[in-house]
Amino acid sequence: MELHEFSLRELRQGLQERDFSSVELTTTLLKRISALNPALNAFVTVTESKALAAAAAADARRAAGEDGPLLGIPMAHKDIFCTAGVRTTCGSKMLEHFVAPYNATVVERLAAEGMVMLGKLNMDEFAMGSSNETSYFGPVRNPWHTDMVPGGSSGGSAAAVAAGLIPVATGTDTGGSIRQPAALCGITGIKPTYGRVSRYGMIAFASSLDQGGPMARNAEDCALMLNVMAAHDPRDSTSHPAAASDFLRGLDRPLQGLRVGVPEEFFGAGLDPEVAAAVQAGIAELARQGAAVQSIRLPNNPHAVSTYYVLAPAEASSNLARFDGVRYTHRAANPADLTDLYQQSRYEGFGAEVRRRILVGTYVLSAGYYDAYYRKAQQVRSLIREDFRRAFAEVDVIVGPTTPTPAFPLGAKNADPVAMYLADIYTIAVNLAGIPALSVPCGFTAAGLPVGMQLMGDYFADDLLLNVAHRYQQETQWHRARPSLQAGEA
């Protein structure tokens, strides 16, 4: 096995035993990035010299006797997390040259553990998209098939981890943006319970739905990352006081007696048969390990997408108002007056999908429409939460497909936004409820594209999801499959 395929545990062992230094490891991965990134476009920014300096600092800490599960291990951040001194674009022309004077809490916490940031990862513009095609910096390609999308919005994170450019990455998930690309790229990614991971310094798309989380090649690596990422942050009012936990503890618990619910609504029309088969096989494996599988109902799940596309744009229309051409953003040249400055800067700085969502959000909050759209959507959101509450009275985890289809070709859904929105049909309800969910690789289609299985848990059952995923990965090999990539391939 090559260095770029190592798990976090194997990397730590190698560093501990001085098989390689962090600088050597970092150099290896930087080389791999420069060889493969031109074809994948997963990185927006590579911070080579800063990375080597951070690796040297980690080596010095280790030489001084320090050790830690993440010390000296390379990673990269989705370009939505603010990084002091390194530009943070959020995939947008609007922030093409924005350099934050502060670190996001997540960035700060992982850096403090001695992780080595190699750069910033491509994403759909302002996290709005399911294919990573809305990025101002060009689409990311799926390492399994470079004509295919990697999913989005954390497409750069998923592609980079799947391609072995980095062992782990951060992502964010507002309607499936960690899980859907994880599924499409054959990696493991968890959207934690809302309030687990600080949103401070994470550029907001829809504040009540956004949640940061790790993307890795297995559940244990996710747990190691989440151990550091999940913490109460006084700078984020929605951060939960009991956010921190030890996600490694209980990772090995056997699944005997686990109550698994399979929602009927997740296996209806629109589900690709190959995806259905792979997920059913995954569920069968859980049963083989002693889980009791039963069918359940989530009757309001069919309303999740339309509810989401009222609430998320509403919040986004307000969250993105600060990008106004006045301070740190793109600013139109020679505006005629103040209104022109706003209009031109925002027209030029935002891409079509972002503008579409701002318009939708502005509309649903407008006087006369608020009750019909925003208020109604909040009511449906309560019903969706209630669905899960009832379900979790009967089962411990809910299992189903992460996505209705495997990765689709670039450009396939660009003309039809609603078709694109439906790529998140199984992931959105989780964000509306605020519960945790993760995606694990559970098979491949005949064309060789990965399939993801989604595990959903009750509030703060993140550890249980990681436990189930880990046990699953102890008995299956899907997460070990690697795309074959040649430098220069495109």
Binding site: A100, P101, G201, S237, T362
Partner: protein
């Protein structure tokens, strides 16, 4: 037929917390532009608001002081509009559920009548920054030091029926926020500012269409603006026109209101609950803790002054209009007659302050000095006339009361023998006047008293002079 004016006020009181409402930046006025800012109040990407508990406590204090319902669960909302000094593109405010609900404020009107004005609500929000158009040619400067300063917007019911009532309400509210120490009340610097909703109607009829007048930063401007607005609206109505619902700006230089924007041009603020902030939940212990440390409020103090110091309602009202003045008075009245102390504080002291254009907060003569001065009158060390002289000295030039009395030999002559000797001398020196007095010209007593006072350089006790002269003249 007469018109009745209907007035409601919206007051923005800047809460005097040390730091801003959603970040830790200082709220101090007058700093270098943009020096009191951070990623949160600059609205940098990913920065998030965290509510300042001190601002909430001050809102609770106001709620308790006006007997208002305190909402145990209130919501912060976003008011969305674009403006360069509003860096987030929205103002965090409270909309559907404010922290303070319905309350009342009792105001005293000039004719001694009390009026209860309803307070609809008071809600917390953040102030915007400032746009500076003057200092730059063809550009505007933005100073975000003020962005995020906590405001309490206090909205009244449309209960006021005259400019005087509106002014009385605003003054009462102004006194109250200063009593509670939740706002410095500085109207020039904009820490206490007011918008007025004004409409006319026939008495008993439904409310007319209102105009909202902005930019009222003094009691006088409030009064003048409403007076102007009454005439403007009456002229329109009486000539058969209709009032347009609009926002108007008061121009103090020209003493007129001008249209800013009509209802049609008004922003649709697209309010919705701010997902970055959890609902504000007040628990009983927090409310009780604040109730326990509430200071004595103006109305209670006024009643106490009337009882404790035997003051008239009017005097007690004047003396309790502000907490600093009331405290000053109580120090002066500590061990002398309350009425005497009140006369000195309301007469000489307020007169001198007014003449010098100084607020009581900056009074050059300490309450302790005035207390001693009044005590020296009461213990007959000096006369009231001499006291006025000493007061001028300590107010304008400083110095200690007793040192001035002794240094200038102003101690009152209360020695009966000494006064009698002076009286005898004056009576002897003016035989004709003495004879006339005895023949019935009572008024001549004044002449003799004046002569004795003159001879004593004003130091003789006037009561004693009176008594002794009367005795001497009648005897003779």
């Amino acid at each position: 037929m007469d018109w009745e004016v209907v007035i409601g006020l919206e007051v923005h009181a800047q809460l005097n917390t040390a730091t801003k409402i959603f970040c830790g930046c200082p709220t101090a006025f007058g700093a270098e532009p943009n020096s009191h800012t951070c990623p949160v109040c600059l609205a940098m990407p990913g920065a998030l608001p965290v509510l300042n508990a001190a601002a909430v406590d001050k809102a609770i204090a106001l709620g308790l002081a006006i007997g208002a319902e305190l909402n145990r669960h209130s919501i912060f909302a976003r008011k969305n509009y674009f403006y360069p000094d509003l860096p987030k593109g929205y103002q965090i405010s409270q909309y559907e559920l404010p922290v303070v609900g319905k309350g009342t404020l009792t105001v005293q009107l000039a004719d001694g009548v009390e009026k209860v004005v309803g307070v609809t609500r008071a809600h917390l929000e953040e102030d915007a920054g400032k746009s500076l158009h003057e200092a730059f040619i063809g550009q505007s400067g933005i100073d975000l030091n003020r962005a995020g300063t906590p405001l309490l917007e206090i909205v009244s019911e449309p209960d006021m029926r005259s400019p005087a009532e509106a002014v009385a309400y605003l003054k009462k509210l102004h006194a109250l926020v200063r009593y509670l120490d939740i706002c410095d009340g500085n109207m020039q610097e904009g820490s206490f500012r007011c918008d007025a909703n004004v409409s006319l109607r026939r008495p008993g009829a439904a409310y007319g269409t209102r105009a909202e007048i902005k930019n009222l930063n003094s009691f006088r401007f409030l009064e003048k603006a409403i007076e102007y607005e009454i005439v403007r609206q009456r002229d329109i109505l009486e000539s058969g026109g209709q009032i347009v619902q609009e926002t108007r700006l008061y121009d103090a230089n020209r003493d007129e209101t001008r249209s800013m924007r009509s209802k049609e041009e008004a922003n649709d603020y697209r309010y919705f609950p701010d997902p970055d902030l959890l609902p504000l939940v007040l628990d009983e212990s927090r409310i009780e803790r604040i109730r326990d440390i509430l200071p004595e409020l103006p109305d209670a103090k006024r009643t106490r002054f009337m009882n404790q110091y035997a003051l008239t309602a009017y005097d007690a009202g004047v003396l309790t209009a502000g907490r600093v003045l009331a405290d000053y008075y109580e120090q002066v009245a500590a061990d002398v007659d309350g009425k005497l102390a009140a006369n000195w504080v309301m007469g000489d002291l307020l007169g001198a302050l007014n003449k010098a254009g100084i607020e009581i907060d900056d009074c050059p003569a300490s309450a302790e000095k005035l207390r001693l001065l009044v005590q020296r009158i009461a213990d007959q060390t000096i006369s009231g006339k001499i006291a006025k002289e000493i007061f001028e000295e300590i107010f304008y030039r400083g110095g200690e009361v007793d040192a001035i009395i002794d240094g200038r030999g102003l101690r009152q002559i209360t020695d009966v023998a000494a006064i009698a000797a002076m009286g005898d001398a004056i009576v002897t020196a003016n035989p004709q006047q003495a004879a006339d007095f005895r023949a019935g010209k009572d008024k001549l007593l004044g002449f003799f008293v004046g002569q004795v006072m003159k001879a004593s350089q004003g130091k003789a006790n006037p009561d004693q002079v009176n008594a002794i002269l009367l005795e001497r003249l009648q005897k003779g």
